[in-house]
C-alpha cells in the first residue's frame, strides 16, 4: 500500500510540474491583483513620503521667513546710538552724551570714584556692577542713582537687562532727542541704547552736575555675560498665552494588521486626495528655565478628505423592476467594508433592457467620498528654546488627547465602469461605525518666535501631528490620521 500511495504523489506532482512548463490562461490572475499590489506597496511609501516632504518644505519656509525677519530687524528696531526712551525718575532737564565710553576705562574710573563714595553706597554700586544683582526696575535705578548724589561727573557702569526697560515701558521705539526733552520738568532718565547686535547691554549711569542722569547702553561681549534673549520676557517662571491657526496637509495612515482577503477583495482601487485640516487653538506656556518650557492648550480642527474608489459588488437581477423609461432598475441595501468604515447604504442600479447580464454578476461600483471630521485636540508639549539674536527658536514634542466631535461622510456613487449599467446612485448617505470618540496622539515640530510689539511676538513654524491610537478600527483596518501643519500665531507674555 505504501508504494502505491507514493505513486499517486509522484503522478500528481509530475502532472503539476509539467504544467509549469506550458503556457495556459487558466492560471493567470486577474489584472486587479496587480492594481491591488501596486496600491499596497506604494501607498505606505507615499503616505510617509508626502508628510515628510510637506514638513521639510514648511521648515524651509519658516527658516526663510525667520531670516527675513533677522535681516530686516535693524530697520524695524531702533538703530544704534538712538535715544529711545525716557524714564520718569528725574526732575532734572535731560542731558545727552554721545555713545558709550570704553568699558575698561570706565571701570578704572569707577574704582577711583568709588573711593569717594560712602561705604554703604559703594556696596550698592558694586553689587549693581557685579551682575547678576542687576536693578530690576527703574525704581531700583532711581534708588541707586540717589545714592550716588553728590558725585559729580562720575560714570558708574551697571549691567542692566533690557527687559527692565521693556517692562517699565521705557523703550517705545520712538526717537527722542536731547533737545526734545531739554525742557522736561518732570524727573526723567535718558536712556541711550545700542540695540544692534546686543545680546546684553551694560548701562553707564552718569551723574552730571547736580541731579542729571543719563544711561548709555553698550554692548558687552556675549562670552562675558549670560545671554539674555531680547524678546519681551526672558525671565524664567514666566507665563505666556498664544493663539494660533494651523492649516495642515496630510493623509491617513492605513494599517491592515490581520489582512482578511475576503474583505479587501471588493476594493479594487482607491485614490485619495491630500487631507486638508484647519485648526484654531489657544495655549499657555510656562518657562521652567531659560531653555525649557512646557506648553498646553486646546485646539479645534476640521479635517476634510476627498477620495474616489472602485468596489466590486455582486449584482443580482432578482428584484429588478422595469421603470418608466423601459430600463431595468434594482434597489438594494449595500454593505461595504471600506477604509472609511463599514458603510451601509441603499443603492439604485439601472441598466438598459437590452443589456446582457447574468442573473448574478460582479459589477464595478465607482464611489466618491467626502469625509469631514471635527476634532478637539488637547496638546501638552515640552519645549527647548534656542535664542537667535532678538528672536527665538523652539523645538517641541508632546502628546495630545483627541476628541472626535463629529464625523460625517458624503458618499456618492458615480457612473459605473460597466457598459451594461446606465446609472448607479445612492439613496442616502452612508452610516459610519467603528470610529473612536477618543484617541491619544503625538506632535512635534519647530517654532520660531519674533518680537512684534512690546510683549507680543509672532509665532510660526511647522509641526507633525499624528495618532498613537487609531481613530478608526475594525477587524481589518486601522486608520491613523497623519498631518503636517504650518502653525501661525501670536504670543503675549504676561
Amino acid at each position: 500500500m505504501k508504494p502505491q500511495e507514493e505513486e499517486i504523489d509522484r503522478l500528481v506532482r509530475q502532472r503539476l510540474l509539467d504544467a509549469d512548463q506550458s503556457a495556459s490562461d487558466w492560471d493567470l490572475p486577474s489584472e486587479q491583483v496587480w492594481v491591488s499590489i501596486d496600491n499596497r506597496i506604494h501607498d505606505k511609501k507615499r503616505d510617509r513620503g508626502a508628510i515628510w516632504w510637506v514638513f521639510a518644505g514648511l521648515l524651509v519656509l519658516s527658516v526663510s521667513i525667520m531670516l527675513l525677519f533677522q535681516l530686516s530687524e535693524p530697520a524695524a528696531l531702533p538703530s544704534a546710538n538712538t535715544q529711545v526712551g525716557i524714564a520718569e525718575i528725574s526732575q532734572s532737564p535731560v542731558f545727552t552724551k554721545e555713545a558709550s565710553a570704553d568699558v575698561q576705562s570706565t571701570s578704572s574710573e569707577l574704582s577711583s570714584e568709588l573711593s569717594m563714595i560712602p561705604k554703604d553706597q559703594v556696596n550698592t554700586a558694586s553689587q549693581s556692577t557685579l551682575s547678576p544683582e542687576v536693578p530690576r526696575s527703574t525704581n531700583d535705578i532711581k534708588q541707586l542713582s540717589s545714592q550716588l548724589t553728590g558725585i559729580a561727573n562720575s560714570t558708574i557702569p551697571l549691567v542692566v537687562s533690557p527687559a527692565i526697560i521693556e517692562n517699565e515701558g521705557n523703550i517705545s521705539g520712538t526717537e527722542n532727542t536731547a533737545d526734545q526733552n531739554s525742557n522736561a520738568e518732570s524727573e526723567s532718565l535718558l536712556i541711550n541704547t545700542e540695540r544692534k547686535n546686543a545680546s546684553r547691554t551694560s548701562v553707564d549711569v552718569a551723574y552730571l552736575d547736580s541731579e542729571m542722569f543719563f544711561l548709555t547702553l553698550e554692548e558687552t561681549p556675549f562670552s562675558q555675560v549670560e545671554a539674555l534673549p531680547m524678546i519681551a520676557v526672558p525671565q524664567h517662571n514666566a507665563w505666556s498665552l498664544a493663539v494660533s491657526i494651523s492649516p495642515s496637509l496630510g493623509t491617513r495612515r492605513i494599517v491592515v494588521p490581520n489582512a482578511q482577503p475576503r474583505v479587501r477583495r471588493n476594493l479594487l482601487l482607491q485614490q485619495e486626495e491630500p487631507a486638508v485640516q484647519l485648526g484654531f487653538g489657544v495655549s499657555a506656556m510656562h518657562e521652567l528655565t531659560a531653555r525649557w518650557s512646557i506648553e498646553g492648550g486646546v485646539e479645534y480642527s476640521r479635517f476634510l478628505l476627498n477620495s474616489s474608489s472602485t468596489h466590486q459588488i455582486r449584482y443580482s437581477r432578482i428584484g429588478e423592476i422595469q421603470n418608466a423609461q423601459g430600463n431595468f432598475e434594482n434597489r438594494f441595501r449595500l454593505n461595504l467594508n471600506t477604509s472609511y468604515g463599514e458603510l451601509n447604504t441603499d443603492v439604485v442600479v439601472e441598466r438598459s433592457s437590452d443589456s446582457q447580464m447574468e442573473e448574478h454578476q460582479f459589477i464595478n461600483l465607482a464611489l466618491q467620498t467626502k469625509q469631514s471630521m471635527q476634532v478637539l485636540r488637547i496638546p501638552v508639549s515640552a519645549r527647548y528654546n534656542i535664542p537667535l539674536g532678538s528672536s527665538q527658536a523652539s523645538c517641541y514634542a508632546g502628546l495630545s488627547a483627541n476628541v472626535l466631535i463629529e464625523n460625517s461622510l458624503e458618499f456618492r456613487a458615480v457612473q459605473s465602469l460597466d457598459s451594461e449599467i446606465i446609472q448607479v446612485s445612492t439613496m442616502r448617505n452612508a452610516r459610519l461605525s467603528s470610529y473612536k470618540d477618543f484617541a491619544f496622539g503625538y506632535q512635534f515640530g519647530v517654532e520660531f518666535e519674533v518680537p512684534l510689539y512690546r510683549r507680543m511676538s509672532i509665532l510660526f513654524g511647522p509641526s507633525v501631528n499624528g495618532y498613537l491610537q487609531p481613530v478608526y478600527q475594525n477587524r481589518q483596518v486601522l486608520i491613523y490620521p497623519l498631518m503636517a501643519d504650518m502653525n501661525v500665531g501670536v504670543r503675549y507674555r504676561l
Binding site: R15, W26, D27, L28, V33, I37, D38, I41
Partner: protein, 181 residues
C-alpha cells in the same frame, strides 16, 4: 553579475515599471501555487496579492545567490501558510476508512486530465487536507516540518495527508471526462 540583479535593484529603488516586470515574470508559476492552496480562484488571488506584497517588502533580504524564482516561491509559500494559520483551519482527526482501500496507478488517471482539472480537484479538498497534501506532496516538506509550520501534531499531519490521498483517489477513480467536474 546575477541575471536578476538590475531588476531587483530597480525594484528596491521603488521603480514601478520594474516591479511590474518582476510581477509579470513570476505571476503565473506563483499563481499556480496559490491555486493549489486556495479553495477558489479568488482565494488564490488573495494569496498572490499578499505574497507579492511580502516579496516587494522583503526584497532587500534577497542575497542574489540563488535563483530569484526560488526565493519568490519560498516567500509566497510562507505568506500563504501565514494566511492559512490565521484562518484557524480545523484539522479533523476522524478516519475515512472507506477511502483508504482505493489504489491508483498512472493508468487510472485519465490522460486528458490536465493540470487545471487536477488543480481543481486539489482545491476541492477540505482546507486541512489540501494544505498538508500540498506541503508534503508538492513542496516536499516532511511531516515534522508541516507540524511545526501549521502548529499541529505530526500524527495529525500524517492523518490529513492520508485522507487527502484517499479522497483524491476516490474522485479520480470516478472520472470519465473533465466535463463531469
Amino acid at each position: 553579475m546575477h541575471p536578476d540583479t538590475q531588476l531587483v535593484q530597480a525594484c528596491l529603488r521603488g521603480d514601478s515599471a520594474s516591479q511590474r516586470l518582476l510581477y509579470e515574470r513570476y505571476k503565473s508559476p506563483m499563481f499556480r501555487i496559490c491555486l493549489r492552496y486556495g479553495g477558489s480562484k479568488q482565494d488564490a488571488e488573495d494569496f498572490l496579492q499578499d505574497g507579492f506584497v511580502r516579496v516587494f517588502k522583503d526584497l532587500q533580504q534577497y542575497r542574489m545567490e540563488g535563483p530569484l524564482g526560488a526565493w519568490i516561491r519560498k516567500v509566497v509559500i510562507n505568506s500563504i501558510l501565514q494566511q492559512l494559520r490565521k484562518r484557524r483551519i480545523v484539522y479533523s482527526d476522524t478516519e475515512l476508512s472507506d477511502l483508504e482501500g482505493l489504489h491508483m496507478t498512472e493508468e487510472d488517471i485519465p490522460g486528458n486530465l490536465d493540470a487545471e482539472i487536477l488543480t481543481r480537484y486539489i482545491q476541492a479538498l477540505p482546507d486541512g487536507y489540501r494544505t498538508v497534501f500540498n506541503m508534503f506532496v508538492i513542496e516536499g516538506f516532511t511531516h515534522q516540518e508541516i507540524a511545526e509550520a501549521l502548529s499541529i501534531n505530526v500524527g495529525t499531519s500524517k492523518s490529513q495527508l492520508s485522507k487527502a490521498r484517499g479522497m483524491l483517489r476516490s474522485w479520480l477513480a470516478t472520472i470519465h471526462s473533465p466535463e463531469s467536474i
